[in-house]
Symmetry: C3
Subunit: 361 residues, 3 copies
């Protein structure tokens, strides 16, 4: 079960080019993403209404897409506008079209009721293409686990001490900290300050190069929004320089943007990038940070995949103080899914096929 009425990241903008027909499974549905002549992105069910062949195996013809099995042609609204050898097009011939918005390098898709697809609900990730910030290359990882296990991970940073001791983490003292947690309308705000300690391994050299050789104050303050969107203000400043009071003159700052999009119940797309406010003209810093992140995120993937494969039906975790944020967020998701179920949110269908013969499958 997935939340339907929310925006999911379907891909990076460059994945859907001027010429390709891009297919990705989102919340269990195969979605075709393609651009019309204007450059606008469209999201369709990736399944010809005729015999079910993938439209992504088809051909773009101007602002239309043709299925290359028997030649059905669809316009940008998803309506079928040509069937070889016949003049009459059945009124229901067409494919479902999803609301899609491109915003700051990400392509967002709304899987639920199109009437409610309010672009104002798309989280702000402007740092990804803001010229005042420099950004790592676009990141993507594929997970063979349910997305909520990755949410869990991102909602409790105490794991940095154990999963990432030589990358993002450092001292085990960091795990002793408790974050502050605040409820937002569609998520949580998490605040975590770690004062007057040696810097994390992945930034130690960067700080050294800036003459910051002593202890630092570190912060990881983020909003975590439905269904799994992390927007984080994090950074390092000389210990005692007042970063927690807004004094960030000597600080280095990041604005991590990370999103989890369920592929299926047991697999997940993970998109991420790490904008920063320093060394903006140094691509080698972007590359170095990207490498550090990939190494660390792979550490997460190993332990989370091991965890997922290790769970068995009926396993009841022993709760503890570390779980406060993840427990709250799981409750938020469950509540939202439950609400949608009660509203009887079926699959809104733009074009519904006439009942025909059933294909032996």
């Amino acid at each position: 079960m997935f939340i339907q009425n929310c925006w999911y990241v379907a891909g990076w903008d460059h994945e859907v080019g001027a010429d390709n027909l891009f297919s990705r499974t989102i919340c269990g549905k195969r979605i075709l993403l393609w651009r019309d002549a204007n450059g606008d992105v469209h999201g369709f069910d990736d399944r010809c209404c005729h015999r079910g062949a993938p439209l992504s195996c088809g051909r773009k013809e101007g602002d239309s897409v043709r299925c290359m099995y028997h030649g059905f042609l669809y316009d940008a609204s998803g309506a079928c506008i040509e069937i070889p050898g016949q003049d009459r097009i059945p009124p229901k011939a067409g494919v479902r079209k999803y609301p899609v918005v491109q915003s700051h390098r990400w392509i967002w898709i709304w899987m639920g009721d199109p009437e409610r697809a309010d672009p104002a609900l798309i989280p702000d990730t402007h740092w990804l293409d803001d010229p005042d910030w420099a950004c790592t290359p676009p990141g993507y990882l594929h997970y063979d686990v349910n997305y909520q296990l990755i949410n869990d991970n991102l909602l409790d940073f105490s794991h940095l001490s154990y999963v990432h001791p030589t990358t993002l983490g450092g001292s085990e003292e960091y795990a002793q900290l408790r974050s502050q947690i605040e409820r937002l309308d569609r998520g949580l705000r998490i605040t975590r300050w770690f004062m007057d300690r040696p810097p994390a391994p992945f930034v130690a050299k960067l700080l050294e190069a800036k003459g910051m050789t002593g202890n630092v104050d570190r912060w990881n303050n983020y909003d975590f929004l439905l269904p799994g969107v992390l927007i984080m203000d994090s950074g390092f400043a000389p210990a005692g320089s007042g970063a927690e009071k807004g004094q960030r003159k000597d600080a280095i700052e990041f604005r991590h943007c990370q999103v989890l999009t369920p592929e299926t119940e047991n697999s997940t797309h993970y998109f991420f990038a790490q904008p920063r406010n320093f060394d903006k003209d140094k691509p080698e810093v972007s590359e170095g940070l990207f490498k550090s992140i990939l190494t660390a995120f792979e550490e997460d993937r190993v332990i989370i995949t091991a965890q997922a494969n290790n769970l068995e039906p009926g396993f009841e975790p022993v709760p503890c103080g570390l779980d406060s944020a993840l427990a709250q967020f799981r409750a938020l998701i469950a509540k939202q899914i439950d609400k949608e179920r009660q509203e009887g949110l079926g699959q809104p269908v733009v074009f519904s096929a006439a009942p025909g013969h059933h294909m032996g499958m």
Copy 2:
């Protein structure tokens, strides 16, 4: 569900040699095919009645087959005639034997009631070994889809324009044509004439070599028979030469023979060859045609497999004029399966094992 009372192609004659014990799964059952000293082919359940080991892992001993786990020996009727260390053979010890007929290079097997296994129902494919015709090498492809999706493909040649534009197809006009469809006793007769057009890519050079450089008349006329047998008269003649009235003096003609045999509900054996009436002494033409066919059939396999993987429960295809033949043939299959179900066609068993202890599996 499969039709039981019909002949399926189990293999090419050369696959069951003088010495090997050949195993193939047909309609979900593992079948052992083997030849006795006379060269006659026999079809058994490939499972020793003792502990279930495959007889195809066994040893041929003259006109008998021995299981090489504990030594049970079976004669050509499927009866067990020897059990090591004991004189008495339980009367029910034996394996089910299926009616099998070798005919024109194909080995046909009857999966249903042996009483009804009438060899006269085997389709005529004499072109496969008729000395008046030359034939490509024997063709085989394995599909990971239900056989009805391949039937569908073969019952609507409009796909040639989109799936095979550079091989079997050519102009998209071909897809505009409607075939004539006629009901037969156990199938459909399909007639399709495409007049006064450039030839299909795969024969263009062959025709050129014969001085046929202009437009041609093309026909694809075939019987499609239960469960999935295509016997086609196809060819190319100079435009206006009267091929449609039987004038075939200057024509090149083919007699495609293609059969689909379900392996399981989700996989299929595809046997095919293409006899022709020209260039009979040129093996390089056989090879060239075979290569073209393989390339084209692989194009089919790609799109049909993509289609099969793309279907989801509840998908209702939007029917259109192109589907007339495939819809009729699916109805024929459904009717036949329904009829057999009403007749209570179980699995006729020649030897039935005594109720014994159940093997923990």
Copy 3:
């Protein structure tokens, strides 16, 4: 379904070293095996009670094991003794601990009620490390079949003639023999004498080197114990030398030790070694015998795996005289499982987690 109240071999002693955290699935449960500073082996559920990560991905800290996801620390009793950032440990925080005993190179584990875990029930395999015997290297094979199919194989040596004609077997006369079968408290005693015949292929050269060039008397006398433990006295002596009456002066003798431990319903661990009373100082004889055994056991694995894949629901084997021992042993297992079911043997749990939120899996 598996017998719970019995000892299973969990591994060879060297597999659980001083430093590693060793994980193996036994009867469907992932088990962590590890040694404390004393060298004593402990068996835990390999699943942190917090969020289910494998403890085998963790870190040993003296006589404790730490989960390396969020840092929970467990002592040798399985009790959680540390949770980062909080002083109070929930009383139920901990993992289930299993009785484990190391005995003569094998590590045995008791999967059922710990109260009944009587070390006196562990079969004697002292030949594995008895200085009066020489032993092959420790053997291990993994099977993708239910363990009872391998039990079946070991309980009927007539298969030696068909599965192992060039290794363990030899003449087909061997399959004509019937073994003597005697009931034991927790198994069967099987006696099989094969008199005055050429030796089996795998020992022919060894006997020749000892001047035994004529016919031999051969015996395979073994206890086969729940759940699948074979302890065999086997050997070869000059024909007529009286080995069957205890005269073994000129004989070569083996004490095979073989055990089957279910991994899951459809996979099995197979541990084995072959002690002998001759050529004790010749490692090349150990290596040669080991190679012969591996070749022969691989022959078994091929046919048993083919058999397992060939069984279908409802297959009813035709019983015969060869099956006497295996039928009795299957009945013993069924009876024991049934008895445990009636006793309501659940999973005895040392630490049971408080009902918490359910992890979406």
